[in-house]
Amino acid sequence: MKPNTGMGFLRERQIAIMGYAETPIQRNSGKSAVELGAEALSSVLAQTGLERDQIDGLAVSLALSEASDTFWSNLVAESLGIAPSWLQATDLGGASPLGNVARAAAAIQAGMCEVVLCLHADAPARGVLMRPGGHRNEFGDTLGYGGPTMVFGLLSSAYAARHGLPERALAKLAVAQRDAALLNPQACAALKVPLTEHDYLSSRMVADPLRLLDCVMRCDGANAVLVTSTAKARQLSARKLVHPVAFREISNFDPRGLVDDITVSGFSHCGPLALADAGLSAGDIRMFQPYDDFLIAVLLQLEQIGFCGAGGAAEFILGHDISLRGQLPINTGGGQISAGQPGLAGGGVNLVEAVRQLCGEAGERQVRSATNAMVTGIGAMQYARNWGTSSVMILEAGP
């Protein structure tokens, strides 16, 4: 694949995240996505001291609860009283929040706007209005397509056939993430109960070999980050800065289906590239905040980004301390698996956690020497292989 330029201005720390916000993640908030988004906006304005009119860019993710509205980004802008000169709706599923930060950086660099609110809100408890077409309907729904849970059951099966089912590593990861969620005030109350490896291993199969505790719980919630140029952030007297220093994304990896192993995803492409862009190796990453709609996805990412070799994720997890005090803390807020997945805003959960940690504001679960973090995104499902979009962002704490 032809390399692109890799957004070199990121490595030069020309872009900064100067604020972040997250609502509580709830099973049924009783609120709409716009109402949840308004809470995140108010919170980020209070944190940064900015006025709403200083925001001239808005990037949103789509919402399961609003999927029938083809003018969604405008509805958000109008409801929240923002007049963006750059307005973007990103339909990359769980890869949308990271994608929005990168697209905001590009728009700022291009001079289309200066201060961008990346806002991700969803309220699927109100209803899921998405209705896929094309092959998803004709050759998926007609045959009994069971959604991402089925896809990850199939991916687990294919992985197990090559490397064995990594149950002990999955159990350790489940417990580590739950332990972190217990210290996360925003985590969904339904998930804030202690978990043992035995609990994981005895949870029922939902898409054998995939267990119930391999899967996220769908929730309501919103999160946001405020992105600007580093120069503008200083001018605005930003409290703290977090710099995205590298970003890579690929959608529809292997478009001709030539890769035999269906578990090989776009991370095998964009993971090593993102590390090279940042001038880092996997061993330099201090916190890993991977997209975790299913636990097996974390193992596949460890291998394909390059923390370990193919088939080596179980040994890696069992051989490393992945807790908050460990060598490589993984999903320090509990991840989506243990904090809850606020619908299509879910990709922002681990992003905001990484920013919070890099600001040194994670309270009881603060990771020591949190100088950098890798965050990832996964979005959409491809036909008879794996997921649609893979993205990797590396963030560093500002001075």
């Binding site: 092959h135 309907n137 004709e138 050759f139 998926g140 729904d141 007609t142 045959l143 009994g144 397509y145 069971g146 959604g147 849970t149 089925m150 059951g153 199939l154 991916l155 687990s156 099966s157 294919a158 056939a161 029922r204 199969m205 939902v206 898409a207 054998d208 070999p209 995939l210 478009p255 001709r256 289906g257 269906i262 036909y383 008879a384 292989r385």
Partner: protein, 134 residues
């Protein structure tokens, strides 16, 4: 939906020949004759080059790439739960998503030989599935 509750496809100009052939128990693949490549699902363009695609009939044999026993049914399949769903690689090359029938989940292994079998439960439309090739 049919009286069986099972979902029906909504064919397009592109896919009507596929579903018509399915009702004659033929599984059709798109074929790029210039490059000797098959593709599935049907697309408006060849994935491999600028050539026109033709329809060719698949032999019906394949291998199991991945398999899962799905306990919560997809909409319309409630009476079928739990259903064995699979990714199958056809002998011609493309992968398909399809149910596995006439099989015990615990006896299936990735790599198993499979063969096409037609699901005739929908009066208006036959749909492909696979069974172990014993």
């Amino acid at each position: 939906m049919t009286e069986t509750g099972l979902p029906l496809p909504r064919p397009t100009a592109l896919t009507q020949p596929f579903w018509d052939a399915a009702n004659e128990s033929r599984l059709m693949l798109q074929f790029d004759a210039a490059l000797g490549r098959h593709q599935f699902f049907p697309r408006p363009l060849s994935l491999f080059g600028p050539n026109a695609m033709t329809w060719v009939e698949a032999g019906g044999g394949g291998r199991l790439v991945a398999v899962s026993l799905c306990t919560s049914a997809a909409p319309g399949f409630e009476a079928q739960a739990p259903q064995i769903m699979a990714i199958v690689r056809l002998d011609e090359g493309p992968r398909l998503l399809a149910p596995i029938v006439h099989a015990v989940f615990g006896e299936l292994q990735v790599g198993d030989r499979l063969r096409l079998v037609w699901d005739k439960r929908r009066p208006a439309q036959q749909v492909y599935s696979f069974e172990p090739w014993r």
